[in-house]
């Protein structure tokens, strides 16, 4: 017993946090005063903003702001509860319907934080023992979702369909050794529409072919491509002209083009309804403040009424790319 007391006395833990050098860039952050729109005031200086994801310029749109003001007068700011316990407002239901109609899917589900959307959607379907094929350059939220799901992860080289096919073939030979297990192991491919880390688009038509050949489901993360690609802004499926039902789950966040906060997943009811009980960021967290939902609805209205803003955005992107490439 004396020995045990001595051990307890002697043990010294590490300090809770290691010291951080004082000149770390994140500690001397830039403070933005005023709205982070196209002309942004950083540290007191007026600059042109090439850093925010304000793709459609809806951040300081008058109509969006007045919709948010009306909702503020009616509902206050917070929802004071998760969706299951009186936190479901009629604006949430309306936004879900509008998103499902816009993306031409059966159902949509809304999360209150963009990061939590894909990070809760993946572990709801893929559990320990399932296999997920994911691109190497996938964003951090996807990586966290995969880590939380505890599934087997197989990385394939960025946008390299041959590498993915090789992995799928290897998996097929594995399956033949153990057909009983193969019958219950679910398989998924997780890709992004527009990759945050590299800026490329994924080759979706080839992925669809691989999907039906090897019987894997596709989860598409469209945070950057929603409202950017496609003739009407419906994302990469419209860009390539693919039937939306071929994709099992589309997840996007509303923090980029829709200039709001939060995220949504859309797809067939068979798939989306499951998240209402098993999506952790949905069941155990307060719902989206109604003023943000109203702002998102108004932004959707603007997107539907003015389909030419996507053309304007595309022209500007092409121009910048051409000028920078010389």
């Amino acid at each position: 017993v004396q020995e045990k007391e001595e051990l307890i006395e002697e043990w010294q833990p590490e300090p809770l946090v290691p010291p951080v050098p004082k000149d770390h860039p994140a500690l001397n952050y830039n403070i933005v005063s005023g709205p982070p729109t196209h002309i942004i005031t950083v540290n007191g200086k007026k600059c042109i903003n090439f850093a925010s994801f304000n793709f459609l310029g809806l951040l300081d749109n008058k109509k969006v702001k007045s919709a948010a003001q009306a909702s503020l007068k009616k509902y206050g700011v917070g929802t004071c509860g998760p969706r299951g316990f009186y936190g479901t407002f009629d604006v949430h239901l309306e936004l879900e319907e509008r998103l499902a109609k816009f993306m031409r899917t059966e159902e949509a589900i809304i999360y209150s934080y963009g990061f939590a959307t894909i990070a809760s959607a993946i572990p709801a379907y893929s559990k320990r023992g399932d296999i997920v094929f994911v691109d190497e350059a996938s964003c951090f939220a996807i990586q966290k979702g995969l880590q939380a799901s505890r599934s087997n992860i197989k990385l394939f080289k960025h946008n390299d369909m041959a590498d993915l096919e090789r992995l799928l073939k290897e998996q097929e030979t594995e399956d033949q050794k153990n057909p009983r297990k193969a019958r219950v192991t679910r398989r998924f491919i997780v890709v992004e529409g527009l990759y945050m880390n590299t800026g490329d688009i994924c080759p979706l038509p080839e992925l669809i072919k691989l999907k039906y050949k090897y019987k894997v489901r596709i989860f598409l993360e469209e945070s950057l491509s929603f409202g950017v690609l496609g003739e009407h802004g419906r994302g990469i499926t419209e860009h390539f002209g693919i039937n939306i039902d071929d994709i099992d789950l589309i997840s996007a966040n509303m923090e980029n083009s829709l200039a709001s906060i939060g995220g949504f997943c859309c797809g067939r009811s068979f798939i989306i309804d499951h998240q209402r009980l098993s999506g952790q960021g949905y069941c155990f967290s307060a719902s989206l403040p109604p003023l943000l939902a109203a702002a998102a609805i108004e932004a959707l209205n603007i997107m539907e009424d003015n389909p030419d803003i996507f053309q304007i955005l595309r022209h500007k992107c092409e121009r910048i790319h051409k000028s920078l490439q010389g």
Partner: protein, 551 residues
């Protein structure tokens, strides 16, 4: 039967624990109604500066038997229905897989959804009820009917007006639409717009965030604070930044999902101690330090204790003085999640740290959310400057997730200023006092009526035990008929035999509203036979009131 208000060492103790814990679950269950006095080595009588009364009464045995019987019947009928559905004798109401994908591996195993399909679906109309007004002390519900036994819902277009709200987390009543109160929020919304479109380390730090963080630090009495856009994400993204492989996390049995997710994502070893059981925690601490890591026997790099201020399903308050003394003795770190307790307990609303009269320096990491008491959204972490600086650089949320939106930040600022009295009125303090009065009145009356209530006498979260699965649906529906909205929870959020209704008292509730609810509960309790408590009404009701005149 021992006198319920027996006094020992000058402290009223209704709750105690046996020295040798023969019990399986962490919740104290005693066979019968015997009581004893605390006998363990830690003289907690001197650590607590005020009386600490908790109740976790166990129901009589026949209740447990009937509960299991109820679930058994439900399961049998579930199997019957599945059989009938598989053979086409009954219509399938669930959505099904696409024709083209029928030969893919099935997405859901049949048995995983057994509970959802057969038991949850029958009483599904008690959850996800949509409202169409501000979630204040009263709200308007949208009327929903179902034609096919809860498989689909249809809105009739009518609203049920002025339903008393006992379900939303509106502890201080800041969920309001008063034009004067929201004046600054309106101005900020006009100025900044709704979104940010950027992360904290890029262009996402607004001057509003800096103002908010300084205010939070001042409110809590610590050196620095950092705010995040979502409370759930605060836990799941910052615990991995603080601990990693080779560290040990000691987490309470009944911790919230966000804490569990954060602990799992961090990669540290997790050990669970029984709910609020200091003996169990001390045993774990001693074993950890003496025996080290499981296979290599090396010493642990750090030990982090994860607890919550108020547990939302139990209504119990953490035994903070004992935990702090344990932490100091064994050199561990303490992470306190005050999601429900910030603003709701304490003389001026500063949370459990103030409630126990301790200094905020005792807790290493103070975490909380703004969703409950402040009527907004988001979370914060506060503590020493080194800690917050480290989080600014290394937290996943700072690098990858968007920051809080400006109108929401303004709402928190104005609510906090009101609480601290910086806006020139005493309204904040009045709200905290009103919440305390409402809580104590509500709990006292429920005890007198004979219901089994869990938790501490000062916590505004009041779980009322229902036990049997049939009563869950009946209770919620009948309360709605009386124009009162309640929240009921069953398995899997609670243990299978302890389904409950959970009330959240708010400072905005008036005495009349509480009386309406209490009368309705009285009637319903007699009708549904919910009054399981075997303690007789205390014959000295004024004894409770007098000891609570001071904070």
């Amino acid at each position: 039967m021992a006198n319920p208000s027996a006094v020992c060492n000058g402290h009223l103790h209704h709750h105690h624990q046996k020295q040798n814990n023969l019990l399986k679950s962490g919740i104290y269950k005693k066979n019968g109604i015997t009581k004893g006095m605390k006998k363990n080595g830690i003289s907690n009588g001197t650590l607590y500066k005020k009386t600490f009364i908790e109740h976790f009464e166990q129901a009589p045995m026949y209740v447990a038997v009937l509960t299991f019987l109820g679930f058994g019947v439900g399961t049998v009928f579930g199997y019957l229905r599945d059989f009938m559905r598989a053979w086409g004798l009954e219509k399938r109401n669930v959505a099904t897989e696409r024709e083209q994908q029928k030969d893919f591996v099935p997405l859901y195993q049949d048995f995983e959804n057994f509970y959802t399909r057969n038991l949850y679906m029958r009483i599904r109309d008690n959850w996800n009820r949509p409202i169409c007004s501000v979630p204040g002390p009263q709200f308007d519900l949208m009327e929903r009917v179902t034609d096919d036994y809860n498989w689909t819902f249809r809105f009739t277009g009518r609203t049920i007006k002025n339903v008393i709200n006992m379900g939303s987390y509106n502890y201080l009543g800041f969920a309001e639409t008063d034009v004067n109160a929201l004046k600054t929020v309106t101005i900020e919304l006009e100025k900044y717009g709704t979104g940010i479109c950027s992360t904290r380390q890029e262009m996402g730090t607004l001057d509003k965030h800096v103002e908010l963080e300084q205010l939070v630090a001042k409110f809590l009495g610590v050196e620095d604070a950092m705010v995040f856009g979502m409370g759930f994400a605060t836990n799941s993204m910052n615990i991995p930044a603080l601990v990693g492989k080779g560290c040990l996390i000691l987490s309470d049995e009944l911790n919230h999902t966000s804490l569990v997710l954060g602990a799992r994502l961090s990669g540290a070893t997790i050990r669970i101690f029984k709910h609020n059981n200091m003996q169990s925690l001390e045993n774990l601490l001693r074993d950890a330090i003496i025996y080290g890591q499981p296979r290599s026997r090396r010493a642990w790099r750090k030990i982090l204790i994860l607890v919550e201020g108020i547990y939302s399903m139990e209504g119990s308050i953490v035994h903070l003085p004992e935990i702090v003394s344990l932490k100091k003795k064994y050199k561990a770190y303490l992470y306190l999640d005050e999601a429900h307790s910030i603003g709701a307990v304490g003389a001026t609303g500063r949370g459990v740290v103030e409630y126990f009269g301790m200094s905020p320096d005792d807790v290493d990491v103070l975490m909380g959310t703004f969703t409950k008491s402040f009527g907004a959204a988001g979370g914060y972490i506060a503590g020493k400057k080194d800690l917050v600086d480290f989080l600014r650089t290394h937290s996943h949320s700072a690098v990858y997730a968007t920051s809080m939106c400006p109108p929401v930040a303004e709402q928190i600022i104005r609510a906090m200023k009101c609480l601290m009295g910086l806006d020139g009125t005493t309204q904040g303090l009045q709200r905290v006092r009103q919440l305390g009065k409402n809580t104590r009145y509500f709990r006292r009356r429920l005890h007198e009526m004979g219901f089994i209530i869990y938790g501490n006498d000062d916590s505004p979260v009041v779980p009322l035990l229902l036990y049997m699965p049939g009563k869950i649906g009946a209770f919620a529906r009948r309360m709605l008929e009386k124009n009162i909205g309640v929240v009921v929870v069953g398995f899997p959020a609670t243990p299978i035999t302890e389904s409950r209704a959970r009330f959240c008292v708010s400072a905005a509730h008036t005495r009349e509203m509480l009386d309406t609810v209490l009368n309705a509960l009285d009637e319903l309790g007699d009708f549904l036979h919910l009054k399981y408590s075997r303690y007789s009404k205390s014959s000295h009701p004024e004894l409770y009131e007098e000891t609570r005149l001071e904070d």
